[in-house]
């Protein structure tokens, strides 16, 4: 409701509704602070996701590596970044994927902003 009152394009404020929807997915991502858990995820992704009771939407989003779908399923970027880290993805890789740009184009866009400063 908060978000509807103040819609910001391309942005999903992580409010109570999202925090409830995404709890399991974010809990799994939070567990990735621990190297043992990152290893367990890589060894058996299905089993690891099952252990955290991911919803079907969350499981599909993780399987597809689609960050926008993870956000739609309630993922919060601070926690999702730990999942991205497992795949060696930086926030620029993640930014490129979400904006539909190549990573090079995404980085060039940021550098161009600096040139105009």
């Amino acid at each position: 409701m908060h978000a509807e009152r103040h819609a910001i394009p391309g942005t999903t404020p992580f409010d109570g509704a999202m925090a409830q929807r995404g709890y399991e997915l974010n809990a799994m991502c939070y567990s990735f602070n621990d190297a043992e858990n990152r290893k367990a995820f890589l060894e058996d992704e299905d089993a690891y996701c099952a252990k955290f009771n991911l919803t079907e939407d969350q499981r599909r989003a993780v399987a597809s590596r689609n960050v926008l779908a993870m956000i739609e399923a309630g993922g919060n970027i601070y926690y999702l970044a730990k999942l991205a880290g497992i795949f060696g993805l930086s926030v620029q890789d993640v930014g490129a994927q979400q904006t539909g740009m190549s990573v090079d184009d995404f980085k060039a866009m940021l550098l161009a902003e600096g040139m105009e400063a």
């Binding site: 999903t12 602070n33 190297a35 904006t99 902003e113 400063a117």
Partner: protein, 279 residues
Amino acid sequence: MAEILGGVFTSHVPAIGGAIAKGLQKDDYWRPFFDGFPAISEWLSEKKPDIAVVFYNDHGLNFFLDKMPTFAVGAAPQYDNADEGWGLPVCHSLQGAPEFSWRLIEHLVGADFDITTCQKMLVDHAVMVPFQLLWPNAKEWPVRVVPIAINTVQHPLPSPRRCLALGHAVHDAIERWDGDERVVVIGTGGLSHQLDGERAGFLNKDYDRFCLDSLGPEPEALVDDTSLDIIEKAGSQGIEILNWIAARGAIGGRVVEKSRNYHIPISNTAAASLLLERA
């Protein structure tokens, strides 16, 4: 009476920690950002603070969504850093100032701030990157620390006005402290950036300049906006300016700008550093 020396403000992008670990400070990409710090480090070695009060936001190292405090004040004898999941080296621990923390906590609750107190608290890159920038190559951190975490993760977020008021209350508590410690205030994060959604990569130089220009002389200019207004102007994670606003409040009174640096991009972020000395 404790003395407030001033405030240091800096971005805390994790990649900065990676660049430090790899020794990339002089690289073309990084130098324009790191150039902002020698002046601040010199000021710190001249002023020799004993205690740093650090306003920051936790990124899912100490706090999860099971319990998410709006304002959390550290009261630990020691604060450890830990693995955050993406390969930053773990920094050595910070020494706390629990007697100072508890006096601060007593004052804040007495002033109607319903804070959470933490006798155990891991601190993430939002504390450790600034410490590495301010005291490069330090074998032992030269200050004891009181970390104050502000929720920038889960809405509703505290309002900018409330964060400034929290800073003012912290200021009053330090002024009432009967020790002779010298205190530096640190605000970390920002400036404009957004990591999530179709708007990822969003930056706003005009708003950043407004923040840098206003924070010292008229911080009240920053608190007419709601937190959602700031997210619209500065990006989802640009909301970390709340840490700067609270830290500015904690300096109190008038300040003199001693150093400023602004550089785009560091990772996805418009990165900045600012030194405000108490007038």
